[in-house]
């Protein structure tokens, strides 16, 4: 079951993120897939704002993993844009059990390491302002979340 949403601005993308945040739970994993500039970090900003995280969410491309603990739940923001090749051990498994929320940008690059149950969002650039978000839940918890929110 896929959900398709069209947004015409960054604000609209952030609203979708906030809505998803309202049904958050511990150890939730959200995978963001899309090209450079398609809105993945914008989505994360919206989500973080809803979590009441005071810090500015910036791109984790360079740092690979950024941790934010000032919100209602810890947020682990990851980005595997820079990685290539088939890596057997990334070092992120422990983050899925830390009772926070894990958001992974460029998750398609590390498919083998993703947990079976997760929420996958694909961002497609329609034109300069508009994005098409394709949301796919994997696992019951995420299916229920989508039904409730979208």
């Amino acid at each position: 079951m896929e959900y398709k949403l069209l947004t015409s601005s960054e604000e609209e993308t952030m609203v979708i993120a906030e809505n998803i945040e309202s049904e958050k739970f511990e150890n939730m994993v959200i995978c963001l897939i899309g090209d450079l500039g398609s809105g993945k970090t914008v989505f994360t900003k919206g989500f973080a704002a809803a979590l009441a995280i005071e810090d500015t969410i910036t791109s984790p491309t360079f740092n690979v993993i950024k941790e934010y603990t000032s919100g209602q739940l810890p947020l682990y923001h990851m980005d595997f844009y820079r990685l290539e090749g088939d890596i057997k051990e990334l070092g992120i498994e422990e983050y899925f059990k830390k009772k926070g929320i894990v958001i992974i940008e460029w998750a398609d690059l590390i498919e083998k390491h993703l947990p079976r149950q997760r929420l996958e969002i694909r961002f497609m650039i329609v034109d300069e302002e508009r994005r098409l978000l394709i949301i796919k839940p994997y696992g019951k918890k995420y299916e229920e979340l989508c039904e409730a929110v979208l």
Partner: protein, 463 residues
């Protein structure tokens, strides 16, 4: 044994003290202090001294005649040095004719610096000084470089070892957190040993241990933090946790004197911030990037153009050859102190895409020049504007991107014109290293920042 002044020895102390001068008194407080040497429940020697900010002055030293030549005076002075470890020097006056005393102080590292005429009535006094050497062994493992260093007094690089993992991660395109952590674990004792060999020092020469506690990759930070904690515990020395970003800022203090108030432009792969400092180790963030850091923008653009990791320095090189022929939008050219580089990243991507559609070839050098000029310009523009607004005459560049040739050149030109002092680190101190951590640690320690064995990493640490 040496103890701090205890009133039960007051009578004995006054007896001994009056042998030195009639108006000797036992009024001590937080500035004027006294240490007693007790042997067999008897007062055998004492030392009085003053500590005010960075100055420590010895007032009186006395050892009972029948107890001399046993090293008691030396022990008392060494103990005072521990109290004075946040000072820059210890001074004392000695009668120019007191050859024994002069020789004694010289043997402990004191040097003559000035004469005080008629200080002792008809005789002159000699002002002697011993500079305090505070050696910090610093460990930095926040990302993909295992580095250790010994830094003296926050500025002297006694020796540094950097074991970079760039080659290891290169084949993966970027840092793999697990591999970074494993490599740190593998290297940590090796680099420590190399450091001691290189500097010809041993752990007993170290006055404190410092470590980057954050920000960075948790698995990487852990190795350095645990190692530093263990060392501090084994050698019973203070442990100073240092923020990696303050390390970048203090990389400048190795070669320059920091003058306050100052404005820092911190630019690296992971950070782009404007920070205000009105004195040592006091940081106020006034602006920063809202999305990508400058270094990241460089990396992403490099990827788009087809330059391998790490792309930043390569773009800088190519930019020096090309011309500004492509039209790119100036990122967030407004009156705020914040930056935004995700827009220009998108612009470059769109440009490359469009040119490809038209069947045109991208001139790499020209694209690098166009990108770099726009990005460096806005960095400089906002920094200078903020400095002028706040009436600050000192600007400091820090972070990996401060190695950028255009940033250094253009910022220097503008600062010269505007009569602003500009300071930036030598290339070797711009990227991650433990030397800058050792330098920052000195100032952190002066601000009484220290930790114990339960120090934890803080991957999201702020200044």
């Amino acid at each position: 044994m040496i103890i701090e002044y205890d009133i039960k020895y007051k009578k004995e102390l006054l007896e001994l003290g009056k042998k030195l001068h009639d108006n000797f008194n036992a009024d001590f407080n937080e500035y004027t202090r006294c240490l007693l040497y007790i042997y067999d429940n008897t007062l055998v020697g004492f030392i009085t001294f003053k500590i005010m900010y960075e100055k420590c002055e010895i007032e009186d030293v006395y050892v009972k005649e029948d107890q001399r030549r046993q090293g008691i005076g030396k022990k008392l002075l060494e103990e005072v040095e521990k109290y004075a470890n946040k000072c820059e020097n210890i001074t004392l006056e000695v009668n120019e004719n007191n050859i024994n005393a002069i020789k004694f102080y010289e043997s402990l590292g004191f040097k003559f610096i000035a004469k005080r005429e008629n200080y002792y009535g008809k005789e002159d006094g000699l002002l002697m000084e011993k500079k305090i050497e505070f050696n910090v062994l610093a460990i930095e493992t926040s990302c993909d470089e295992t580095s250790v260093s010994i830094v003296r007094n926050g500025k002297e690089d006694v020796g540094t070892i950097i074991l970079s993992q760039i080659d290891i991660h290169k084949s993966y395109g970027g840092v793999v957190p697990e591999i970074a952590s494993r490599t740190h674990t593998k290297n940590i004792t090796i680099v420590l040993e190399e450091l001691l060999e290189k500097t010809n020092m041993n752990m007993n020469d170290i006055d404190a241990f410092a470590v980057t506690s954050g920000p960075g990759l948790n698995g990487s930070l852990l190795v350095g933090v645990e190692a530093a904690k263990a060392l501090a515990y084994i050698y019973k020395k203070p442990l100073i946790p240092v923020n990696h970003l303050s390390g970048h800022i203090y990389a400048n203090s190795i070669e320059h004197e920091l003058v306050f108030p100052l404005l820092v432009l911190l630019v690296s792969g992971g950070h782009t911030e404007l920070i205000y400092m009105d004195k040592h180790y006091s940081f106020k963030k006034l602006g920063g990037t809202l999305d990508d850091s400058v270094g990241e923008a460089y990396d992403k653009v490099a990827r788009v153009i087809g330059i391998p990791y790490p792309g930043g320095p390569e773009i800088d090189k190519l930019a020096n050859i090309g011309k500004h022929t492509y039209d790119l939008p100036i990122p967030k050219d407004d009156t705020t102190n914040d930056f935004s580089f995700s827009g220009i990243k998108s612009a470059v991507i769109n440009l490359v895409h469009n040119e490809k559609q038209k069947g045109k070839e991208i001139n790499r050098e020209d694209l690098c020049t166009s990108f770099q000029e726009v990005v460096i310009d806005i960095l400089i523009k906002k920094t200078i504007r903020l400095a002028k607004e706040l009436n600050i005459n000192n600007i400091l560049l820090s972070g990996g991107v401060s190695a950028n040739s255009l940033l250094r050149k253009n910022m220097k030109d503008i600062c010269d014109k505007e009569n602003i002092n500009l300071v930036y680190p030598s290339l070797k101190y711009c990227t991650d290293n433990a030397t800058m951590i050792g330098a920052a640690a000195y100032y952190a320690y002066k601000e009484n920042i220290s930790a114990n064995s339960s120090l934890n990493t803080n991957p999201n640490q702020k200044l």
